[in-house]
Subunit: 263 residues, 2 copies
């Protein structure tokens, strides 16, 4: 948390999610705005999937709003609402940041994957040549698959909806021959990653069971709050190393800063 | 200005205007939220008249947004967008605050008039029995006419658009027989009030010429920033007493607080 001054001239950024109470982007970006001397503020915006179109259309009409961050479950829907997307966003089929295009409309980008890979490396985990089992083929999962593959990892992806995993594989595999496959559930790997929203709500089932993983498997979660998700708690109890959600978001700050032309 | 902490759980309020840079509601309401220990923030939202419908529809879809304040030029349009209105808002045909109805939709209210009358009284100017020449029959002007009439004043209203003044008079006169009339321009009165947006933008013409008023006429402006509008500067130069825009907004805070159920 940080103190923010708001007045009539303040520029707005919004982070879109459902739920939104857990988002940490305001606590991370508002200090950056303050540090850069910008008269701007990032606020949380909760919209249901059914209300997302209206919400984005409405925010588009807000002339002092300069950018959107996007979190679950809206990343793929916002890909469709963007008028142009970066290559990483096109490959992943999802966006987590949108900025105004000069002629109107929105350009979508996705820094989830690059943020995650940078966070892994900062923590000493090199994805090149590693095998990764990725749970979740949604917005965040797709972006992370793209970045992990670009970083040289071998990725197996699964999803509660097998069609969604198959669709991701068929879309990406031609770009990364021999390094991406779908699986019906968890398979052995050096790194097991949760990129599903399971764990956001108390009582969510685990996306996979860490007790069934082989010793030494690094268990990572992209959920930032609670810091120890049920998955990471179970991994710790099983004696496995864990990687939290925070480093990914921290690494994204620099990427957002460049994308939005801040400071 | 006040320091505000923003996180994922923060509830939102928006003040809608065009322009919006001059609005002081964030600087007045955010301290109240903080003082009451509320995890809430009021942000400025600029939408053009053409974009207002989209903006309000979008903000309606924002589930962590609890209320709207409305300033020029959107007060009459928001009356039409409200699903229910208070009696003062119905009489004035305009709203400056909207809260969620339990079953969905918005209830509109208007505290401009009551805030203005309370501010006058706090400054020692009793409207009962006074003659008032009111410039502006738009959203704020209509609300102020209603409150001044309710307070027992005699009101003459004029507007750059004579049809708008005539329409206001024909709507309100039956409720306040013999105390409301339209005029083609400024007429002598105890109190001359600007309720038009003239003065918001540098270079705006004066809504009326204070040099032509009789000595002792109190000149009031509802524009809050700059504190000394061109009109009030001209009035001061003509040796007339002035009444600023701030007291009206300050008095509205208590009314907003009750309306939104704050603290």
């Amino acid at each position: 948390m940080v103190a923010v001054n708001i007045r009539g001239t303040t520029r707005l950024y919004a982070v879109l999610g459902d739920p939104v109470a857990q988002v940490r982007a305001p606590a991370l970006l508002n200090p950056l705005f303050a540090q850069l001397g910008l008269d701007a503020v990032l606020v949380p915006v909760e919209a249901t999937p059914a209300g997302l179109g209206d919400a984005v259309r409405g925010l588009t009409a807000v002339r002092n709003l300069d950018g959107l961050l996007v979190t679950v479950p809206h990343k793929m829907a916002c890909r469709a609402l963007a008028d142009r997307v970066t290559e990483a966003a096109a490959l992943s089929g999802s966006v987590n940041a949108m900025r105004r295009l000069p002629g109107g409309g929105w350009e979508g980008a996705n820094f989830d994957g690059e943020g995650f890979v940078r966070g892994l490396r900062t923590a000493g985990h090199e994805p090149r040549g590693a095998t990764v089992c990725l749970a979740g083929a949604g917005g965040a999962g797709s972006a992370m698959a793209v970045a992990l593959l670009r970083a040289g990892a071998h990725v197996t992806v699964w999803d509660a909806d097998p069609d969604r995993a198959a669709s991701l594989v068929s879309r990406l595999a031609p770009h990364f021959p021999g390094r991406l496959a779908a699986a019906p559930g968890h398979v052995d790997a050096d790194l097991a990653v949760n990129a599903t929203p399971m764990g956001l709500r108390p009582g969510d089932p685990l996306p996979f069971d860490p007790a069934a993983l082989r010793p030494g498997t690094l268990v990572a979660d992209i959920i930032m709050s609670p810091r120890y998700t049920a998955l990471l708690r179970a991994a710790r109890e099983a004696g496995l190393p864990v990687h939290h959600g925070e480093p990914m978001l921290a690494e994204q700050i620099a990427l957002y800063r460049e994308f939005f032309g801040l400071g």
